[in-house]
């Protein structure tokens, strides 16, 4: 890979040339940490079952799901409709309680959705500032923090913009900044890029990897998109549908820069897709 650093075009002009190319390339995802029993995890889901009462009797959304996310680890959750991934995120976020089992998360997790869900009556900066206020940041520090966070997501100078004056990608970046403003250690993302066009999504993949590497949050990223999961995640976890169970898990061992059309990403994605298709097909006769 030394070959790559020789080409000046691959340097991002914002990067400090003292850093090695690999560390700062937003396409390089460090490999997953080795499983360690002793360390305090970022998120620990232990034999969790969640049952909802539906019109036709109780419906199990999650069945005996166990998952551990190390501090600073990026885990992608994959699954077809009805795999209970939103339920799982709600449980981790503490918005709902499991029927059985335990959910632990360090700090108050932040949640991002497919829609940016910014408050339209506030400016971009005020949206972030509100999150800071609720995280207990004193008033005098908020303005500086808002600017720092906006700079982090490359939206410096847009603090006074109204939400409707931002593009879809920019809104998601403000939503990311707001989530980071909560200063939790865990970031939960519920298909945050599903509504964006392909190029914007590629850009945001790079941005997310860059921001995550800088902040060191644990991330649980839910998606339908297998390639996206392989592009972003250190680990990919496959959930079955109705009820949701963990049916597969992959470590993404790709050392070089990843892009969505990268051959190694494609190869692993193909393998996972095959398993996902099997899982979906099993419902045809159920």
């Amino acid at each position: 890979m030394t070959l790559l650093t020789a080409d000046p075009r691959v340097f991002d002009r914002d990067f400090d040339p003292a850093f090695r190319f690999h560390d700062d390339d937003p396409r390089v995802v460090p490999l997953a940490p080795e499983p360690a029993e002793a360390a305090l995890p970022g998120v620990l889901i232990d034999r969790v079952t969640k049952v909802f009462s539906g019109p036709g009797g109780p419906v199990a959304a999650l069945d005996n799901v166990s998952l551990s996310v190390a501090p600073g680890e990026f885990v992608c959750l994959l699954g077809a409709s009805g795999c209970g991934k939103s339920t799982l995120l709600n449980l981790i976020a503490g918005l709902d309680q499991p029927t059985a089992g335990t959910v632990q998360a360090s700090g108050r997790p932040a949640l991002m959705f497919q829609e940016a869900a910014l408050f339209p009556w506030l400016t971009a900066g005020a949206n972030i500032s509100l999150a800071l206020k609720l995280a207990g940041v004193p008033r005098r520090d908020r303005a500086t923090k808002v600017d720092e966070l906006l700079d982090l997501v490359r939206l410096g100078g847009t603090a006074s913009r109204r939400v409707h004056e931002l593009s879809g990608g920019q809104r998601q970046r403000v939503a990311l900044a707001r989530a980071l403003a909560q200063r939790g250690q865990v970031l939960l993302m519920d298909e945050p890029f599903a509504a964006l066009d392909a190029i914007t999504r590629d850009v945001l993949h790079d941005e997310l990897t860059r921001v995550w590497k800088r902040t060191g949050n644990s991330v649980v990223f839910v998606t339908h998109n297998v390639r996206e999961a392989v592009r972003l995640g250190q680990r990919v976890v496959l959930l079955s549908s109705r009820p949701g169970r963990v049916v597969g898990e992959w470590r993404v061992d790709i050392k070089g820069p990843r892009t969505i059309e990268h051959p190694e990403v494609s190869a692993l994605a193909a393998q996972i897709t095959l398993r996902l298709r099997e899982e979906i097909a099993s419902h045809a006769h159920a």
Binding site: L3, D7, A117, W121, L134, A135, E261, S266
Partner: protein, 313 residues
């Protein structure tokens, strides 16, 4: 430059991957530049037309409509469609109108009515808001009082006048009671429907940020329901103004002072048609005035801040 062959993806060995990587590096511009390009392309540049242009385009059409209306009036008068003591000429009404303005009567009469309207409306805002919040907050209250409130909203508030006079006599109390009964249901219902329409996702975000009941109400539900609340206020004002005029027309007494409704009733009892028409025009002007001076700008400010109104208008 060779294209990246996706068909090879699954079988590519390590050497091939390295080569592909390099090609990819050359083909891709850096993320920041692409991101900045996307932002620039998606930037919505909106420019408002200058204020005088907006004023002119908003001003002329109603003026033309008004002139046409006056033309029809003059025609009907000239054709002796109705006797003169029923339909006076526009010129005659204009003379009376000018007279009332000149001797200051118009201003006093308007102020008598308007102050009643504003005091009644202010009280309605307080009551309607408290009631709306309570109904939104407590399910049992919504189940019990909600339908009654909607029923009240469709009840013409004029029908309260006889009862109000019965309870409070010919006093300002009776007039305020009618105004309140007209406006409170609209304001409460506007607030409730505004809060019902807040996207659940926003409330969910609020809870993730750590907001609970009162905080959620203050930081999310209330600001999010502002457009609905404003629509309720606007309707509430229209209803209070109407009920006020109805009350003033029916509850006339020397104790009550001369409001617009009483001015019209005096015109009727003295068979002074120009005064009646003048009173009608004054009522109309006050109604439009409040709308233009208060509700229109406030609504525009609230909606355009949220991107709900095309800013170019």
């Amino acid at each position: 430059m060779p294209m990246l062959d996706l068909n090879e993806a699954g079988t590519a060995g390590n050497g091939a991957v390295a080569a592909d990587d390099r090609d990819e590096q050359f083909e891709r511009e850096d993320t920041a530049a692409v991101g900045a390009g996307l932002d620039a392309l998606e930037l919505h540049v909106t420019r408002r037309r200058p204020a005088w242009r907006r004023f002119l385009t908003g001003f002329y059409p109603p003026l033309i409509a008004l002139v046409v209306l006056l033309g029809f009036w003059q025609l009907a008068y000239a054709a002796k469609w109705k006797p003169e003591y029923v339909l006076p000429s526009p010129a005659e009404v204009w003379t009376t109108f000018q007279g009332l303005i000149a001797d200051g009567t118009a201003l006093t009469v308007i102020w008598t009515s308007l102050s009643r309207g504003l005091i009644g409306f202010a009280a309605s805002i307080v009551l309607g808001t408290v009631l709306g919040l309570a109904i939104f907050r407590f399910g049992w209250l919504r189940a019990s009082v909600g339908p009654l409130l909607t029923g009240l909203q469709s009840l013409p508030s004029v029908s309260w006048v006889p009862m109000a006079v019965l309870w409070f006599g010919l006093s300002n109390g009776a007039i305020y009671a009618v105004v309140l009964l007209g406006a409170v249901p609209s304001i409460a219902n506007g607030l409730i429907s505004g809060m019902d329409q807040v996207p659940p996702l926003l409330a969910r975000v609020g809870r993730t940020l750590g907001l609970r009941s009162m905080g959620l109400m203050r930081e999310v539900l209330l600001p999010a329901s502002l457009p609905g609340y404003l629509a309720g206020l606007r309707q509430g004002w229209a209803f209070s103004w109407r009920s006020l005029m109805a009350a003033e027309l029916i509850a006339t007494s020397s104790k009550l002072g001369l409001g617009l409704g009483q001015l019209m009733d005096r015109g009727r009892s003295l068979e002074d048609a120009p005064t009646m028409y003048t009173a009608l025009i004054l009522i109309f002007i006050v109604g439009i005035g409040i709308e233009l001076v208060f509700f229109r700008p406030v609504e525009r400010a609230i909606l355009s801040a949220r991107g709900l109104v095309p800013a170019a208008r």
